[in-house]
């Protein structure tokens, strides 16, 4: 039964087109990740390149700074930067010459980014901030992170959080172990930054498959034979659900695994134990986790998201008996947050932080300063997202079974 249900999925022309599109989108996602702006390498003549070879050269160049990101290292970076900005190449109006100077800076580019973060106000970023620093400022590198947070909480965000919530943030900031360890991590950074692409494409393309799983019986007018069969209101429905679970699971891990292998294979897999605070996006995060841990969150978050979106699509398909209605569900749920975000209120930001699309954007989710109180305990969005949507996804299956079973007997 299960075998034929899977065969039904794979035999359909529409489903084959969806799978073909999935492969295309996978390729696009991989291309975008490995040609990320941060993976460019500028040579001695000021010419830039992207991809595998650029990554190799960049890694080689950045090797000099690998290790604990101590006060001395930060001072050395500031010092080197001061030397470069004093060169005629850096100050040249000619783009080619200025690119040469940029090439000299790329070995400490990552560290420069977080130095800029550390010496700017909490909600601002100034790319040239490092230029006005002296090696003596390096001593404030880590303390500034906490100080900027405290200042922000006492001023701009004064009324946004309760005292307990403010204490929660400060506590997490203080718990970050210093000095951070810096190493090449571009593979993980690019992979995670573009993770939403393959995951969302997967959900959107597979939603066409999931939408037809139950509704297909009605649109093909095969429901009468199906429901009058001995197992038509029992095992056969379970086989359908089983096929859905297997298909979604298989497709997700194949696509995500292939994407991860391709990106890490191209850009390098080192840096899994590096803390996300060593990156521009993660510097302010209150989640004290490594890139490897964030990757696991993104992997299982994406899986939970795919299960939720596609099981919900299956449920709507069984309930509405229409693939067209069912297929709109993931589209609406994925694009709705961007509409709500435009409303711009803090309350709305808190709400959108809990919408299921966040499961595909772990890289962003760890940067948000949203706190929720559950059972008297304060927590970020991640534990809630994982618990709620995994539970809802699993709940969809028995409901789907009951709804489709009922569809077999008209009243």
């Amino acid at each position: 039964m299960l075998r034929y249900e899977l065969k039904k999925i794979l035999a359909g022309k529409g489903n084959r087109i969806a799978l073909f599109l999935l492969v295309v989108f996978w390729g696009v996602s991989c291309y975008c990740a490995v040609t990320d702006i941060d993976v460019n390498f500028t040579d001695g003549q000021g010419k830039s390149g992207y991809g595998y070879f650029a990554a190799q050269k960049l890694r080689e160049a950045q090797k000099a700074w690998m290790g604990p990101l101590t006060e001395e290292t930060v001072a050395a970076v500031i010092e080197k930067n001061a030397r470069i900005i004093a060169t005629p190449e850096y100050n040249a109006d000619d783009a080619a010459r200025s690119n040469i100077a940029y090439g000299w800076m790329q070995d400490y580019r990552d560290i420069r980014n977080i130095i800029n973060c550390a010496f700017c106000e909490f909600r601002t970023y100034d790319y040239y901030r490092i230029n006005s620093l002296t090696p003596a400022d390096a001593a404030d590198f880590y303390p500034n992170r906490l100080a900027a947070l405290k200042t922000w909480l006492d001023t701009e965000a004064k009324d946004l959080y309760s005292d307990e919530e403010k204490a929660f943030f400060i506590d997490h900031y203080e718990n970050m172990k210093t000095p951070l360890y810096y190493t090449w991590k571009q593979g993980w950074e690019s992979l995670l930054e573009h993770a939403a692409m393959p995951q969302m494409f997967l959900v959107l393309t597979l939603s066409f498959v999931a939408a037809g799983l139950f509704a297909g019986e009605f649109s093909n007018r095969a429901d009468a034979v199906f429901f009058t069969a001995c197992h038509g209101r029992g095992k056969a429905i379970k086989a359908k659900i089983g096929a859905g679970v297997l298909f979604v699971t298989g497709a997700y891990w194949i696509v995500w695994g292939a994407y991860s292998l391709f990106v890490l294979g191209t850009l390098g897999a080192d840096g899994a134990s590096c803390m996300i605070q060593t990156g521009l996006g993660g510097w302010k995060s209150f989640y004290n986790i490594s890139y490897g841990q964030l990757y696991l969150l993104a992997s299982f978050g994406g899986y939970a998201g795919a299960l939720f979106f596609l099981f919900l699509t299956m449920l709507v398909s069984a309930w509405s008996r229409s693939a067209t209605v069912a297929v709109t569900v993931p589209f609406v749920l994925i694009f709705l947050p961007s509409v709500l975000d435009n409303l711009g209120s803090d309350w709305m930001s808190k709400l959108t932080g809990l919408l299921p699309d966040q499961l595909f954007q772990m890289d962003l989710a760890v940067r948000y300063f949203n706190l929720y109180c559950v059972g008297g305990r304060l927590m970020g969005a991640l534990p809630i997202l994982f618990t709620v949507y995994t539970a809802l996804a699993l709940l969809c299956l028995p409901v789907c079974y009951r709804v489709f079973r009922r569809a077999g007997i008209g009243r």
Partner: protein
Amino acid sequence: MELRLEHVTKRFLDLTAVSDVSTVLDNGVYGLLGVNGAGKTTLMRMLCTLIRPTAGRILWEGEDIFEMNMRYRKLLGYLPQDFGFYPDFCAQDYLMYIASIKGLRPAVAKARVEELLHRVGLYQVRQKKMKKFSGGMKRRVGIAQAVLNDPKLLILDEPTSGLDPKERIRFRNLIGELSQDRIVLLSTHIVSDVANVAKGIFLMKDGKICHEGSMEKILREAPVKVWCCRVSGKEADACLNRYQVANFKTDDQGCELRILSEEKPTADAIEETPTLEDVFLYYFGEKAGNEDAAL
């Protein structure tokens, strides 16, 4: 083996599709005849547990079929009027899939599917996608799936609709072969489909079974006489207005009419033995022969 219907009624909002039907069926082929909207499909869908009666009971060997649930469906074979399938499946895969949901073990299913593909003449094209099949071929697959589990109750809703004469003859022969040791209920609005094979006939009108019994009984009880006469073209028009005309044939000498009437329509009219088609026309009048609806 006994299928008993007790005061079965089905209402859809303000429409009564099936009204107080009571009857008993045992081994053999039964024809359910009726026109468009008579309630045949609704009745059959209730017999297949696809819809529940609003009132009344349907019993198999004394047990309510809805309570029997899976045990009843194990005995059931059904070919719906609008037989649907999976267009990208080949005939063999389709039948293997249906065999699996009918609970046949794979080894048994394989042998049974092969046997039935031979029997319905589709073995040579078993690997061809069903969307490429002709209407008749699809219908044959439909019949094969209905009998896959060797059902004790076989329900065929308009099985010959859309078939050409050759396919219909093939189908009638197949029904004859399948009719042993089971109840076959066959709905149609094509009288000749059941005239020669049915043990019992139900005439259904406005949701009720208005007449039932063997063909002989129905013919005997029909209060109608059949006349054959030859008239001129002008007289033929008058007859058409005045009588129910079962057949109208024109040739060089004028028109030959088959008329249903209590009285002798013309002086030289000759009385003939009524056929089931005549009786069907008599009871259902001008509606007879319309395309059936899915009511």
